[in-house]
C-alpha cells in the first residue's frame, strides 16, 4: 500500500519556513480554491530569511541536479490565465547536484528585498509573492514547492491632503455643495463630510454614499475595467429643504479596501471613488463621483 502511494507521491517532502515565523504577523489570504489560509506578512525592503527542509520519503534516495529557492513577484491577468508575469525574481542556489539520503536543512536569505507592489487579489488580476523551491531532476519532473506570502507597504500620512469641496447641481432644480474632509484616506480612516443643500426643487427620497473600486487591467485595446461598489452607505432619509446640511461619517474599517494602485508595472490600476447618489421620488438617480486616494498607514497597535 505504502509503495503504491509512494509511487505517485513525490519522493520527498519540502518544508519552507521563515526564521521569524512565530513572531511574524499572519494575515489571511484567499486561495484559488476559495479557502482562506494564514500567511506571513512582509513589506518591501525586508529581508526574507528562513530555511528549507527537504525530507526524502521512506529514506529513499533522491537524485537531483541541484536545489534552488526563488522569490517571485508575479502578476497574473485573468484574461491571460496561467501566464504569470514575474516582475521580481531572485534565486538562491541551495545545493549543488547530488543525492539526498536524509532530511536536510538549507537556510536561505534574501536580504532587503525590493517588493514595490502589494499583494492584490482583484477581479481580473492577481499580484502575489511566492517562494518557490525547485529540486531539479533529470528525466523525471522537478519537484517544486511554493510558499506564498503577502506584502503590504505602508505609506506615511500624506503631507498634502486637501479637502474635497465642490458645488454641483442641475440648473434650477438641485444645487448641492459637498465636502469631504480629505482627499486621501488610509484604510481604517473615517470619511467625514457634509452636504449642503443650496437649492432643492425636486423631491428627494434618499441619499447614499458609495465607495466604488475601479480596477483596470491591461493596456490599449485590451483594457478591462471592472467597477465594484464596495460600500453603500445611506446618508439621508427623506426630502431635505433648502439650507439643510447633512453630515457624513463613514467608517472605512468594515470594508475590504486596498490602497490605490497606480499603474502597477504597467499591468493594472486600482482606483477608489466616492460616489454621492441622490434618488428622487421617481427613482431617478443623480450622482457625483469623486476620486479619493487610499493608502496604507502603518498600524501602530
Amino acid at each position: 500500500m505504502n509503495y503504491l502511494v509512494g509511487a505517485f507521491k513525490p519522493p520527498c517532502n519540502i518544508f519552507i519556513s521563515f526564521a521569524d515565523g512565530r513572531s511574524r504577523k499572519q494575515v489571511p489570504l484567499k486561495k484559488e480554491n476559495g479557502k482562506t489560509v494564514m500567511v506571513a506578512l512582509f513589506q518591501s525592503q525586508e529581508s526574507i530569511v528562513g530555511e528549507v527542509v527537504i525530507e526524502p520519503v521512506h529514506r529513499k534516495k533522491v537524485e537531483h541536479n541541484g536545489v534552488k529557492i526563488e522569490l517571485l513577484g508575479q502578476i497574473e491577468l485573468y484574461f491571460d490565465r496561467g501566464n504569470f508575469y514575474d516582475f521580481t525574481s531572485l534565486v538562491r542556489e541551495l545545493d549543488i547536484p547530488g543525492e539526498l539520503y536524509e532530511r536536510k536543512t538549507y537556510p536561505f536569505e534574501f536580504s532587503t528585498v525590493e517588493m514595490p507592489y502589494e499583494s492584490y487579489n482583484g477581479v481580473n488580476v492577481r499580484l502575489r509573492y511566492i517562494l518557490k523551491v525547485t529540486i531539479s531532476r533529470n528525466y523525471v519532473g522537478n519537484i517544486v514547492e511554493y510558499q506564498e506570502f503577502v506584502v503590504r507597504n505602508y505609506t506615511p500620512p500624506p503631507s498634502i491632503n486637501n479637502i474635497i469641496k465642490m458645488e454641483v447641481g442641475i440648473e434650477d432644480c438641485l444645487h448641492i455643495e459637498f465636502e469631504y474632509s480629505k482627499s486621501k484616506y488610509h484604510l481604517k480612516d473615517v470619511i467625514i463630510g457634509k452636504i449642503y443643500f443650496l437649492l432643492v426643487r425636486i423631491k428627494l427620497k434618499n441619499m447614499d454614499l458609495e465607495i466604488r473600486c475601479r480596477e483596470s487591467t491591461g493596456s490599449g485595446p485590451n483594457t478591462y475595467v471592472e467597477t465594484e461598489t464596495l460600500a453603500k452607505f445611506e446618508l439621508m432619509d427623506g426630502a431635505p429643504v433648502r439650507g439643510e446640511s447633512i453630515p457624513i461619517r463613514l467608517f472605512l474599517s468594515p470594508y475590504e479596501l486596498t490602497p490605490t494602485y497606480q499603474n502597477i508595472n504597467n499591468k493594472f490600476s486600482v482606483k477608489y471613488y466616492l460616489n454621492l447618489v441622490l434618488v428622487d421620488e421617481e427613482d431617478r438617480r443623480y450622482f457625483k463621483q469623486q476620486e479619493i486616494t487610499m493608502y496604507r498607514l502603518l498600524e501602530t497597535s
Binding site: N206, G238, V241, I246, P247, R249
Partner: protein, 785 residues
C-alpha cells in the same frame, strides 16, 4: 399612497409589528448569549421596520413604541460591558457601520446615552454629535420620532447633567444647547410635514400634525425640568432661542402650539420677568395664529400667579406687567389686520380680567382697556358678529362682577362708549346685566350724577333706539321693563333734594320711553316719588319756611305729569290707581286741592277712558276705598265726590255689580275714627238701595233661568247690616235685620237643595253674638232666628 384605506394601514402596521417581533425574538436570543454581533444585526433589522412610509403618525407611533421597548432592553445590554466585552467607545463606532441610516441612528442614540452615562467622554461632545448626526433623517415623521427617541433616551442624563453637576454652569448650558438644537430641528421637521403631499389632504395633515405636537413640546418640557435652568439662562438663552424658532418657522399650527407650550411649561415667575420678550414675539407670528387664546392663557396664568401671594404683586408692579401686556395687545391687533373683531375683543376681555385680578384698585387701568377697545370698535362699522358682541358683553360684565358694586363701574368713563358700539339687542342684554348686578348686590345709587350715567348706560332699555324696528319678544320686553322698574327703586338718597333730582332725571329718561314702556316704569317712579313725599311729610316741621326745592307740592306736580303721560299709552286703569295713590299721599300732606285735583282726574278717567264694565267695577271699588280714607276734604268737596261715586255705582251694567258697589258706597258715609263722618241715614239709604237692586237681580235671574238665583247678594247685604248694627248706627235696627233674615229664608225655600255656607256662617255669627252677653249680646237679643 395618499388615498390609502384604513384597512391597508392596519395591514401594514400588523406587518411592521410582526417584523419587529420576529427580529426582537432573535435579538433576545443574541442578548441571552451575549452575542454582540447578532444583537447589532437583529436590532438593525428590527429598526428597519421603522423605515416605512406607509403609516400615519398614530400607527407609526404604535410601531415605534414596540421598537422602543426592545431598545430599552438593548440599552441595558450595552451598559454591561462585561457581557459583550466591547468598550463603549468602540461600541459607539461599531453601531455606525450600519448601512441604513435609520437603524444606525437609533442604535447610535442608544449607545450614545450609555456613553454619556459612562462619562468616558464629555457629554457635550456626545450630545452635539448625536443631535448633529440626526440631521440625516429628513423625513418628517421618521425624523420626528428619531429625535423624540433621542430626547427620550437622553432625558434622564440631561437632567443629571443639568442639575447634578455641582451647579457647573457650563454643563447646564451643554444640556440646554442640546435640547434647544433638537427642539429646533424637530420643529422644522414638524412644520415641514405641512408641506408634504397635495393641498387636498391639508386638513388631514393638520390633524396628523396635531397628533405629533407632543413630541415637539416634550423638549420644552424637559427644559423646564432641568433645575439648572435658572431665570438667567432662561432669559438669556432658552427663551430667545425658542422664540426665534417660533417666529421663524412661519407655521401657524406650530406657532400657536409652541407659544402655548412656553406659557404652560415654564414657571410664572419666569414669564413675569421675561414678559417683554415673550410679548414681543406675539405680533410677529402669522396672522392666522390664534394668538388671542395664547395671550389669554398667559394673562390667566399671570393673574392666578398674582393671586397666589401678596409678595408677587410688587413684582408685577416692578415689571409694569399691565403696560407691557396692554402694549403687546395693541400691537398684535395692529399687526393682525385680518383679525376679526371678536379676536380683538377677546384679547381685551382677557386683559381686563387680568387687570381686575391683579390690580383691582386701578380703575384707570380698566378705563384704559375699555378705551382701547372703544378705539378698536370705532374702526369697524358695527358689530354684527354674534360672538364679538358676546365678548363685548363679557368685557363689560367683568368689572361689574369684580367690583360687586355698580357704582364703581359707573365711574369708568369709557364704559358707556363701549356700550355704544353694541347693537340694540346686545345693548339691552348688557343693560340687563348691569341692572341685575345692581339688584344682586343691592347697590344703592345715591347721586343724581350717577343716575344720569346709569341711565345713559341702560338707555337701550329706556327708549327705542334709532332703528328699533325689529321684532321684540313680548316676554323679553316685559322682563326688561320689569327690571327697569325694579331698578328705579334702587335709586335712593336720604337727602330729599338730591332724591328729587334723581326722580327728575329718571323721569326725564323714562318719559322718552314711549307708550310701551311707561306702564312699567311710571308706577315705580310714582311710588318712589310718593316715598319722598312721605319722607318730607315726616320731617315737615323742620324745614318749614325755607325755600325748599323739594316740596310735596312740587312733587305732586311732577306726579301728575307722570301719570298724565300714561294717558297717552293709554292705560287708564293704571293711571286711575296711581292717581288714587297720589290722592292718598296728598291727603297725608293735607293738601286738599291737590287731592281733589287727583280725584277729578280719577273721575275724568273713569268717565272718558274706562269703558269695560269689569274694569269699571274694579275702578269703582278702588275709588270707594280711597275716598273712604280721605279726610282732608271739606264737606262740599266730599259730597261732590261721594255723590259722584254713588251715582256711578248705581249705573254699573250688571245688577250684582251695582248692588255690591252701592252697598260698598255706604262706607263713604260711615268712617271709623275720631272725626269720621257718621251719616247713618245715608248709610241706610245705600243699603236699602242695594237691597232693591238685589231683589231686581233676583227676579231677573228667576225670569231668565226659571229659578231664583243665589241668595248671596242678600247675605252680603245682611253682613253690611250687621256691621253697621254693631258699629252703632241707629238707623240700622234689629227689626230690619230680622226682616232681612226672613226675606233670605223665604228666598231660600225656592231651592232647598243648596244650603248656603255663607248664610250659615252669618247666622252662626249672630248666634254667637247673642250668647256673648254684655252690651253686644243685649243688642243682638232682639234678633230672632
Amino acid at each position: 399612497m395618499l388615498l390609502i384605506g384604513a384597512e391597508d394601514e392596519e395591514k401594514w402596521l400588523a406587518e411592521g409589528i410582526a417584523g419587529v417581533q420576529h427580529n426582537a425574538f432573535y435579538l433576545h436570543r443574541a442578548l441571552d448569549s451575549n452575542n454582540l454581533r447578532d444583537a447589532l444585526k437583529y436590532s438593525a433589522q428590527m429598526l428597519s421596520e421603522l423605515r416605512t412610509s406607509k403609516l400615519s403618525p398614530q400607527k407609526y407611533y404604535e410601531l415605534y413604541m414596540r421598537a422602543f421597548d426592545e431598545l430599552r432592553i438593548l440599552e441595558m445590554f450595552f451598559k454591561d460591558e462585561s457581557k459583550h466585552g466591547v468598550s463603549v467607545v468602540d461600541l459607539y463606532e461599531l453601531v455606525q457601520h450600519a448601512g441604513n441610516i435609520l437603524p444606525r441612528l437609533y442604535l447610535l442614540c442608544t449607545v450614545g446615552s450609555v456613553y454619556i452615562k459612562s462619562k468616558e467622554a464629555p457629554a457635550k461632545e456626545l450630545l452635539q454629535d448625536l443631535v448633529e448626526m440626526c440631521h440625516g433623517v429628513q423625513h418628517p415623521i421618521r425624523g420626528l420620532f428619531l429625535r423624540s427617541y433621542l430626547a427620550q433616551i437622553s432625558r434622564d442624563k440631561l437632567l443629571d447633567i443639568g442639575s447634578d453637576y455641582e451647579g457647573d454652569a457650563d454643563t447646564v448650558m451643554d444640556a440646554v444647547e442640546f435640547i434647544l438644537e433638537n427642539f429646533t430641528e424637530m420643529n422644522k421637521l414638524w412644520v415641514r410635514m405641512q408641506l408634504e403631499g397635495p393641498g387636498r389632504v391639508r386638513e388631514k395633515r393638520e390633524k396628523e400634525r396635531s397628533a405629533l405636537q407632543e413630541l415637539v413640546g416634550k423638549n420644552l418640557h424637559v427644559l423646564s425640568q432641568i433645575e439648572g435652568v435658572d431665570l438667567e439662562i432662561y432669559k438669556e438663552t432658552v427663551l430667545p432661542r425658542v422664540l426665534e424658532q417660533v417666529v421663524n418657522c412661519k407655521d401657524d399650527l406650530s406657532q400657536y402650539y409652541l407659544m402655548d407650550c412656553i406659557i404652560q411649561v415654564f414657571p410664572d415667575e419666569y414669564h413675569l420677568q421675561t414678559l417683554e420678550m415673550l410679548l414681543a414675539a406675539c405680533p410677529q407670528v402669522q396672522p392666522t395664529v390664534d394668538i388671542k387664546t395664547v395671550l389669554s392663557r398667559l394673562m390667566d396664568r399671570l393673574s392666578k400667579y398674582a393671586a397666589s401671594s401678596a409678595d408677587v404683586l410688587t413684582e408685577f408692579l416692578q415689571v409694569e406687567a399691565f403696560t407691557k401686556l396692554s402694549n403687546a395687545i395693541e400691537k398684535v391687533i395692529e399687526v393682525q389686520v385680518d383679525m376679526p373683531a371678536v379676536g380683538a375683543i377677546t384679547l381685551y376681555v382677557s386683559l381686563l380680567t387680568f387687570t381686575l385680578r391683579v390690580h383691582p384698585d386701578r380703575l384707570d387701568y380698566v378705563d384704559q382697556v375699555l378705551g382701547a377697545c372703544v378705539k378698536k370698535l370705532s374702526s369697524i362699522p358695527k358689530l354684527e358678529d354674534s360672538r364679538a358682541t358676546k365678548q363685548v358683553v363679557a368685557l363689560l360684565s367683568a368689572p361689574l362682577e369684580k367690583y360687586n358694586d355698580t357704582v364703581t363701574a359707573l365711574k369708568i368713563s369709557n364704559y358707556p362708549r363701549v356700550m355704544d358700539h353694541l347693537d340694540n339687542g346686545t345693548n339691552k342684554v348688557m343693560a340687563m346685566v348691569i341692572i341685575e348686578s345692581i339688584m344682586k348686590n343691592n347697590t344703592c345709587i345715591s347721586t343724581a350724577d350717577k343716575v344720569e350715567v346709569l341711565f345713559e348706560l341702560i338707555k337701550g332699555l329706556i327708549k327705542d333706539l334709532d332703528s328699533a324696528t325689529d321684532e321684540l319678544d313680548e316676554e323679553d320686553f316685559k322682563d326688561e321693563q320689569n327690571s327697569v322698574a325694579k331698578l328705579i327703586h334702587m335709586l335712593y338718597n336720604n337727602e330729599p333734594e338730591e332724591m328729587l333730582k334723581i326722580i327728575c332725571i329718571v323721569w326725564k329718561h323714562t318719559m322718552a320711553g314711549g307708550p310701551k314702556r311707561l306702564p312699567f316704569t311710571v308706577p315705580s317712579l310714582v311710588f318712589s316719588a310718593l316715598r319722598l313725599v312721605r319722607q318730607l311729610q315726616g320731617q315737615e316741621g323742620d324745614i318749614v319756611g325755607e325755600e325748599v326745592p323739594a316740596t310735596p307740592k312740587k312733587i305732586f306736580q311732577l306726579l301728575s305729569q307722570m301719570i298724565e303721560a300714561l294717558s297717552a299709552v293709554p292705560s287708564p286703569e293704571l293711571a286711575l290707581r296711581l292717581y288714587l295713590q297720589c290722592a292718598e299721599a296728598a291727603n297725608g300732606c293735607d293738601l286738599e286741592y291737590v287731592a281733589y285735583e287727583f280725584f277729578t282726574q280719577v273721575f275724568v278717567l273713569y268717565e272718558e277712558e274706562i269703558a269695560n264694565s269689569k274694569a269699571q267695577v274694579t275702578a269703582i271699588h278702588l275709588i270707594i276705598g280711597a275716598l273712604q280714607r280721605m279726610n282732608v276734604f271739606s264737606v262740599e268737596n266730599r259730597d261732590t265726590l261721594t255723590h259722584k261715586t254713588t251715582r256711578y255705582s248705581a249705573r254699573l251694567l250688571k245688577k250684582p255689580d251695582q248692588c255690591r258697589a252701592v252697598y260698598a258706597c255706604s262706607h263713604l258715609f260711615w268712617v271709623d275714627g275720631q272725626d269720621g263722618i257718621r251719616d247713618g241715614e245715608r248709610v241706610l239709604l245705600c243699603l236699602k238701595r242695594a237691597l232693591r237692586i238685589a231683589n231686581a237681580a233676583q227676579q231677573m235671574a228667576s225670569i231668565a233661568r226659571d229659578s231664583s238665583g243665589p241668595v248671596t247678594l242678600f247675605v252680603e247685604i245682611l253682613n253690611k247690616y250687621l256691621y253697621y248694627f254693631e258699629k252703632g248706627n241707629k238707623q240700622i235696627t234689629a227689626a230690619a235685620i230680622q226682616h232681612l233674615i226672613e226675606l233670605i229664608n223665604t228666598e231660600m225655600q225656592g231651592d232647598s237643595a243648596t244650603s248656603d255656607a255663607f248664610l250659615a256662617s252669618t247666622l252662626r255669627y249672630i248666634q254667637f253674638q247673642k250668647q256673648r252677653g254684655g252690651v253686644m249680646g243685649a243688642k243682638f237679643e232682639s234678633i230672632k232666628l
